[in-house]
Symmetry: C2
Amino acid sequence: MKKRVTIHDIARIAGVSPATVSRVLSKSSYPVSSDMRKKIERLAEEHDYIPNMVGKQLKTHKNMTIGVIVPTISNPFYSSVVLGIEEMARRNNYHVFLCNSLQNPKQEDEYLEKLFENQVKGVVLSSISFNRALLTRLIKLGLKVIAIDQPIDLQDVFQIKFDYRKGGYMATQYLLDKGHRRIAFITAPLDRPSRQSIFDGYRDALQDAGIAVEERLVNVSEPAEGDETRGEFENGKLLTRRLFDLDELPTAVFACNDMTALGVINELTAHGVKIPEQMSVVGFDNIDFSQMIAPPLTTIHQPSYEMGKLAYNMLMELMGGGQAEIDIVLQPKLIERSTVAVKK
Amino acid sequence: MKKRVTIHDIARIAGVSPATVSRVLSKSSYPVSSDMRKKIERLAEEHDYIPNMVGKQLKTHKNMTIGVIVPTISNPFYSSVVLGIEEMARRNNYHVFLCNSLQNPKQEDEYLEKLFENQVKGVVLSSISFNRALLTRLIKLGLKVIAIDQPIDLQDVFQIKFDYRKGGYMATQYLLDKGHRRIAFITAPLDRPSRQSIFDGYRDALQDAGIAVEERLVNVSEPAEGDETRGEFENGKLLTRRLFDLDELPTAVFACNDMTALGVINELTAHGVKIPEQMSVVGFDNIDFSQMIAPPLTTIHQPSYEMGKLAYNMLMELMGGGQAEIDIVLQPKLIERSTVAVKK
DNA sequence: ATGAAAGCGCTAACAA
DNA sequence: TTGTTAGCGCTTTCAT
């Protein structure tokens, strides 16, 4: 294992000062004679010089990495968001420091702190925590934060929002338009603002149609910890099973996300219920998989990849001292596929 | 925005030397009187002291981050591997620097270099490149590398292998046992060793059964770039379409991975072909989704999460100066679900 | 038990 | 155009 060569080594070999070497190797605009420049570049190449960003960073207080904290990348929705962020970051020579909070607020805080210790200056955060103590402290110390997916109600935190309520409303309205009156809502715990909003949309759509919300048709699961993705699916199955305890099945199911909808469909199919002939199903998110199943899932599109890109752009704006940014609210879109039939 | 407080600030306030402050705040084992220790801890707390890891790292040449390079986390197989690595890393207070090479060898090299510049000392790599120039250089400079998924034939690179050939053999043999004789193989380009090996297994199983490999039943797609996950699915669809040009359909399809198998199933269903009654399908990987579809997919299990954990452990061993590590070959397992029927 | 001082690799005034 | 020097925040020998 060869010793690492530094700017000083190159300087010594070239018989010049480290400053000159720094100027050429860091692509500074500072003037250096072209002979010198060539010589140094050649020497650097020959000696396998690779810059040490830690030294540079300590001096300049700048770095090229941003943090991203999401519940888990095993959820295709988040992996798509992350890919969007990373794509933009790459183009601008930034790095992404990815953290999976795994439904654990403590984990979220630990990552936040670690990120900050590592001098990360900007973070895109899908927060599952309610305690804003640490976040507030870090923001005071200069951390820039963009909230996605879950709102964060703090001064100086800007948001890429999504109109979950409207999405919930649209999905329900669509089912209503197809003639359905008994529409079940199946969801993971309403402990996240996004889910609560989807439920609000469901409720409002029913009420606007003059239909009372039947409590037995609203199925909320118990909170769980760990990797959520498998959980959402299992959840969908579990809550669907409860439907069969009812005197009469609903004619349609609206699930709080696609993973849950997959569970619903799976369980329904296991019970011999045909989709959409005997039961209509609508999901939420429009993950790639939703169109890969048979029949392909009708769902509400949430532009995850674009969300990632937007989040990156807003973060850069913020970090570049841009100010008075405005929150963005992305609009839902209904994707009609094949899991909904007209109620006969 | 408050100015960041350093150990010097704390030292000044406490009226002691920075050395003493460092000793207590970095949890050094060096003796410090308990009065002093308490005072410093209190002051640090009061003044919101947060250590600067960059300074520390420059001095100690140690850091707590490892790199992980995979084709894309939007592929559930890789996201599961990454989660396994991250889980272990977290337990040991390590960080994961995640990079998606997106099927692009140049991107892979860029990330490798960036990682190294940032003083990352260990990397878990699923390489899609064939050019080992940079990697060889970095290894000479002390980088430790664990290869997963795709073998890397370099001195000092240790591997978590998977017996792809055996997996391919098992899947084909299983189909053979069920009475199938005309078994199509559908795959993305054989430019990765893993896929080639799966094909070898397919071929060998047929040959051992005294069945000639029919060229028209082996469908290989053209190379593509970009985010592969959607591509694999589309690929499965595309190649399945070609099957219908044949004089006679095969009775079973073996796909090189589950995403492709989903595409196969999707296209088959679109053509009104019932699975498994009219066509049997076997996948490869056993991603979570493979059991979420209807009917659930029969497939070859590749232990992605465990692979991640193993990779982390091996890497730590290597980085800790452990030597004479031995490559590991994980064994495939057939998961019988519902997409295969006995050939009548 | 505490402090002084050097230095990790790099950059950036300032000087020459 | 090039060099000198100081120092980013931290740890760590060596002294005291």
